[in-house]
Structure formats: structure tokens, C-alpha cells
């Protein structure tokens, strides 16, 4: 069945450093969404990627969709304490119309 893996599970970052988290699928994806969940909060939508090789930027966040549409990455530059939280990818495959499968998430801790 469909497998979605996020790596790393845990990321400890010094304030000001960059880091990248990855989302990998065993099957070709229709699209992928990224969400951020602050401690004690609920997931909040960040971005959606649809096209092969697509790159989207939101200030210090850069999202990329792989050419084969099986993987995606989220890169954060100059990490700030406000970046603390868990980042989830949510994927939809071509044979699961309307249904999203979430990865286990990357928990990010930022040290001042």
C-alpha cells in the first residue's frame, strides 16, 4: 500500500541556521500539501504543490516537488524561534481521489 515517509522525525536547529525536511512516497502523487502544527495547536496549511519539479517560496520557506512526483522537500533558511512546531506533508495519489495521507511529521525545535 501507499507509504509516506518524512525524514528526519526530529530536527534540533540553532537559531539562524538552515534545515531541510523531506517527504517521500512509494507511489506517484497527484499533489502534495504541507502543514505546520504548533505545540498544542492544530495543523495549518502552508502550501500545495501540483506540478512536477514545482518550486514555491514563502519568505524563508522553499517548497519543492520532485520531478517524478514521488518526493518533496521543505527548506527553511535562517531559522527563527517562531518556526518551532511539527511540519507534516499530506499526499494524494492518483488513485485516491479526495483522500489525503499524512506523513508522521518532522518535529522542529529551535535553540536561541
Amino acid at each position: 500500500g501507499q507509504q509516506v515517509m518524512q525524514i528526519p522525525q526530529y530536527q534540533h536547529v540553532q537559531e539562524g541556521e538552515d534545515f531541510t525536511t523531506y517527504c517521500n512516497s512509494s507511489t506517484t502523487l497527484s499533489n502534495i500539501q504541507w502543514y505546520k502544527q504548533r505545540p498544542g495547536g492544530h495543523p495549518v496549511f502552508l502550501i500545495q504543490l501540483v506540478k512536477s519539479g514545482e518550486v514555491k517560496k514563502q519568505k524563508r520557506l522553499t517548497f519543492q516537488f520532485g520531478e517524478a512526483k514521488k518526493n518533496s522537500s521543505l527548506h527553511i533558511t535562517a531559522t527563527q524561534t517562531t518556526d518551532v512546531g511539527t511540519y507534516f506533508c499530506a499526499v494524494m495519489t492518483t488513485d485516491s481521489w479526495g483522500k489525503f495521507q499524512f506523513g508522521a511529521g518532522t518535529q522542529v525545535v529551535v535553540t536561541p
Partner: protein, 120 residues
């Protein structure tokens, strides 16, 4: 209201009792999702509604779990004969209809604050 609401926010119940969790989606959102999140874990898909019908119930853990949606709006997730392993935060999300630009375009999911269920 402007967002997705869920009730109750917290529910403590005894093992073996039935519970009902409610979700009020954003008005006009045709798709509604239920997820379960255990402490420190990711989101586990439970069920998805398009209008009042549920095209995908594959995530329901057992026949003790059921969900319905009426009037294309409010949804209720029912857990019968609760077990301790049912303890988790149950999240509901809603989504606008897909885009009509000639290709599939799936919009973001708006999440409610969740219901924290504790089974003693």
C-alpha cells in the same frame, strides 16, 4: 463562525461507554475529513465525506467507529464501547469544492481545534 468548530473540546469517558464527537465545517465546504492524532504522532486518516456520502471509510479502525454527515454540513463521529486505545485527539477538517479550471485542484484543508478524548 468563520472556522471549523468541534465539540466537545475535551471528553473524558469510562471504558465501554459510547461517545459522540461533533464537527461543524466552514459553510460551503463540501468535503469533510476526520483524523485521529495520538500524542506526539502524525494524523491518522479515519473517513472522508463528499457532501453527505463517504467515498472512503477505509481508515475507520473497527466497526465500533462510525460517522455520518447530514445536510452536507455537520458531521458526527461515534465511537461505541470505547477502549483505552481510543484515547487521542480527534481532528476534523473541511475543504472547498475542487477547482473547475479544467484540471483537478485540491484546496487546503481547514482544521478545527480538535476533541481530546480520554478513555479511563
Amino acid at each position: 463562525g468563520a472556522g471549523v468548530s468541534q465539540s466537545p473540546s475535551n471528553k473524558v469517558t469510562e471504558k465501554g461507554k459510547d461517545v459522540e464527537l461533533r464537527c461543524d465545517p466552514i459553510s460551503g465546504h463540501t468535503a469533510l475529513y476526520w483524523y485521529r492524532q495520538s500524542l506526539g504522532q502524525g494524523l491518522e486518516f479515519l473517513i472522508y465525506f463528499q457532501g453527505n456520502s463517504a467515498p472512503d471509510k477505509s481508515g475507520l479502525p473497527s466497526d465500533r467507529f462510525s460517522a455520518e454527515r447530514t445536510g452536507g454540513s455537520v458531521s458526527t463521529l461515534t465511537i461505541q464501547r470505547t477502549q483505552q486505545e481510543d484515547s487521542a485527539v480527534y481532528l476534523c477538517a473541511s475543504r472547498q469544492p475542487p477547482g473547475t479550471s479544467g484540471r483537478r485542484s485540491y484546496n487546503e484543508q481547514f482544521f478545527g481545534p480538535g476533541t481530546r478524548l480520554t478513555v479511563l
